[in-house]
Amino acid sequence: MKKAIPVILILFLQSCAAGKFELPNEQFEFKKILSDTSKPYIYRARLKIYDKEFSGLIIIKTGSETHRIVFINEVGMKFFDIELLKNTYKVHNIFEPLNKKMFVKLLVSDFSFILMNNLQNPFKIAKVKEPEITAVKPGKIKEIYFLNRNTLLPESAMKYSVIRKKVFLSYQNYKNDVPGIINLRHKGIKFEIKLIFIK
């Protein structure tokens, strides 16, 4: 019976995904967020991990195929400095109490999701009702981005895997193609990221 439950869940999720979206043979170019390599993006940040909260600034610097993510508290102390590379990552620095393998993996996975690193352009899109369109990443881990049809920028996204861990993401208050607010939360893990754009 225990073995049957995940199988039923997988079938249920697959049927949901297949039923919701048609997959026309249409290719689409969408815009990746925070992709300007000439300037850093600075956000006020709040990370909630179980009963602990960390606040400060997150600086995101985009390279040609990389993202450097630095989280500092207000008095300037560094919580972490992680670089997302193509198919891997490098931890430049992490404050000892946060230096847990699981936590680092979670950060890498979530920021890759926020920064749309797993999507390739051009991408096949699934057709959904106006004003949104949807990009779907096929494979073991499903990432569904709901893009605005006019701006081609993401407004929300969802991720689920075969073990049914869900991650929900929203991008709001765009200004010059930069999201003013980014919210990420997990279902099943008490982990949240809230980013508010400063400059």
């Binding site: 006020r44 500092i72 207000e74």
Partner: protein
């Protein structure tokens, strides 16, 4: 050329020039430490404006912020960031509050190792009693107007994120004028204190958030 090099090496040793431009090593560090400790004991309160510069190698320009700082002996601290955003940290004994403009959160620093370390470090640096800490190796330097205490952490955990702390004291009243926290990879945080008022009356209510 060889003679010149030999001369430079010998004179460098004689004058005790340091890596900190314009500063030389203090001849009698014990005497300086005693003076700074005496001043630290006399410090009942500090009220000051500050500017903070966060240097990250990945950024062309430093992140600049400013605000107001208050300290009341022995364990009350109020950091108030006013520009470019509002943010308030209040530490009072084992309690710590953070107001990020949207929400006030209270923490117990006894149950949160990280906040406790940050709390101890910040209070210790500003009051000057960090110089008595056994967690650091301390070297004193001086120039005409200032004393510089360079604190190198001893523990491997602290060395991971802190190369050293530079505390700049004026050599008249032995008060902290500037703090630089250097990180191993070259990033640093610089805090400059100005409009300082020492030992004025600051009401306890400044160190409480409701």
């Amino acid at each position: 050329m060889k003679i010149l090099m030999t001369f430079l090496l010998l004179t460098a040793g004689f004058f005790s020039f340091s890596q900190f431009s314009g500063f030389k090593k203090v001849a009698d560090p014990k005497e300086i430490a005693e003076k700074l400790n005496a001043a630290s004991k006399k410090t009942k309160s500090i009220d000051s404006d500050f500017k903070q510069y966060k240097h990250l190698d990945i950024l062309e320009n430093d992140i600049e912020s400013s605000g107001h700082f208050s300290f009341k002996a022995t364990d009350k601290v109020r950091w108030e960031y006013l520009q470019p955003y509002k943010y308030l940290i209040v530490m009072n004994g084992k309690d710590m509050w953070i107001n990020d403009g949207n929400k006030i959160r209270k923490y117990d620093t006894e149950s949160n190792k990280m906040f406790k370390e940050i709390n101890n470090l910040m209070v210790g640096m500003l009051q000057g009693n960090i110089l008595k800490s056994e967690n650091f190796e301390i070297i004193f330097y001086e120039n005409k107007n200032e004393i510089l205490a360079v604190l190198k952490p001893k523990s491997p955990e602290m060395k991971d994120f802190l190369e050293h702390i530079e505390l700049y004291f004026d050599n008249k009243h032995y008060n902290v004028k500037k703090i630089i926290m250097d990180e191993p990879a070259g990033d640093y945080t610089e805090m400059i204190f100005y409009n300082r008022k020492m030992n004025i009356e600051i009401p306890d209510s400044r160190f409480l958030i409701k």
